[in-house]
Symmetry: C2
Subunit: 274 residues, 2 copies
Amino acid sequence: MTKLELFEQVKQKQSFLCVGLDTDKKKIPRHLLEMEDPIYEFNKAIVDATVPYCVAFKPNLAFYESEGTAGWMSLEKSIAYIRQRYPEQFIIADAKRGDIGNTSEMYARTFFETLKADAVTVAPYMGEDSVKPFLNQPGRWVVLLALTSNKGSLDFQLTANASGERLFEKVLRVSQKWASNEQMMYVVGATQGKRFEEVRKIAPNHFLLVPGVGAQGGSLEEVCRYGMNQECGLLVNSSRAIIYADQGEGFAHAAAEEAAKLQKEMQAMLHKYL
Amino acid sequence: MTKLELFEQVKQKQSFLCVGLDTDKKKIPRHLLEMEDPIYEFNKAIVDATVPYCVAFKPNLAFYESEGTAGWMSLEKSIAYIRQRYPEQFIIADAKRGDIGNTSEMYARTFFETLKADAVTVAPYMGEDSVKPFLNQPGRWVVLLALTSNKGSLDFQLTANASGERLFEKVLRVSQKWASNEQMMYVVGATQGKRFEEVRKIAPNHFLLVPGVGAQGGSLEEVCRYGMNQECGLLVNSSRAIIYADQGEGFAHAAAEEAAKLQKEMQAMLHKYL
C-alpha cells in the first residue's frame, strides 16, 4: 500500500485507528474456548466488528508465538482473513525483529511472503544491514522503533551524544538514508507527549505508529496536537482497551463501541489539526 | 543451567563451540526433501554428528518462521530432540526479541515454557522493562545484544555520549543492574577483535556469545586473546561453516569434521589462555 492510499483510507473512514490484535487465550471469552481455533474465532469477530472504525490491524507476534505451532496457525489464518475480506486494511506484523543481513532477509520473507503483511516493526539496534532486507519490495513498509511508549524508553533512547543528539533522534535521522517515507514509518509512543514536536522536526512527513493510548495512558489530544501532519501521518494503536472491552458473549459488540468512540475522537482531531 | 554447570561442560568437552542451527530448506541436501519434515531430519543429523564437539546449539528463529507453521513445528521438534537426548547441552533461542513488559512476558513464555530453551537473545533498545520478564526463572538466561558482528553495528552501537561512553558500553553497564552474570550473557561479534578488551573492562565475568567466526570472517585467536576469562566466558558460534560444510549425502559427516576442527582449535585456546 502506498502512503497516498493509506491517507485516502484515513480520509474516507475519518479514522487513523489501528486495532492491536494482542490476542491472549487467557483473556478471551470462555465460550470461544470450545471452538477449534479460539484465537482465530476471536480475531475474526473483532475484525468484523471494528473494521468500520479503523484503517489498520496490528497482530503482535508474541501473543501467537506463545501458543507455539497452533498460535502460528491462528495468526496465518487471521491475516489471510483480513487480507481477503478487507483488502483495503493496512496490516502491521508487530514483531520488532532485526538481525544480520542474511537473517533479516529470512524474516522479511516470513512477514511479507508467508504472512503477506503490509508492514513489520523492526528494532534499530543492529543498524542498516539489519533493516534494509525489509525494504526490497515497494509498498511494503518498515516501522522502525524510535521512541517507544514504555518506561524502558528512558534507558537508552534518550541518551545524548557529544553533539547533543539523542539516540532516538539519530535513529530518525540516519534511517532516512535507508528508505523514503514511502516505505518507512516510526514507532513513537503516545506517552511521549510533547516529544512528538521533536520527532516532527526530524521526520515531518513520515507516518508514525503510535502505541500507548488506552491501557498505557497516553493522550490522543496531545499526540495529535504535536504529531499530526498534512497527511495525518499518524496511526494510533489501541489493543487491550478495545479487544478486551468486554470479556463475555458481547465482546465483539463492546469492541465495536470502543473503536467507534475512538473513531469519533479521531474525526474531531482530523477536523481540528489536519 | 548455571554458569558453573556450563563451565563444567566446557572443561569436559574442551570446547566452547555453539553450533548455529540456521537451517534453510533451500540449502539442505536434496535427498532430505523427500522426507516428511526435512528441516527436523537435517537438524537431528547435524546435532547427532556435532554434539561431541560442542556445548551449545543455537537455532535462529528467522529460519523456522520463514516456513510458517511447518517451520515452527520443525523447531519445536528439534529443540525437544536435543532436550531429551542431550540434556546437558545449552540451547539458545536466537530470537532477538524485546517489547513492552506484558508482551515480553509472552515471549518469555514462548521460549522458556513452550520451547524449553535455556536462553534467548534479546535486543536492548526498549530498556529494562522489555528485558526483565525474561529473567524470572533461575537458570534461564538472557543473551543481550551489545556489540554485534555486522557492519550495521557501527550505526548506533558505537555512538558515544557526552561523557565518552559508547552505547554498547552503556548497555553492558546499565543491564548489569537487571541481573547478575548467572542469568545474563552478552552478544559480542567475533569481528570486533580488540574491542573484546573494552567489553571485558565492563563485564569481566560474563559469558559472551560470539557469532561471526567462519562465514563472517572473525578470528578465533583474537576473540580468545582479548575475551577469554578464568571460566572461559565464551560461547563461540559457527553456523553456516559447519552445517553447510557439504550439501550432499555426506553432510553430517562433513559437519562433524568442521566442528571437530574448531574443537581442536578451541582446546588449544583453552590451554593457552585459561
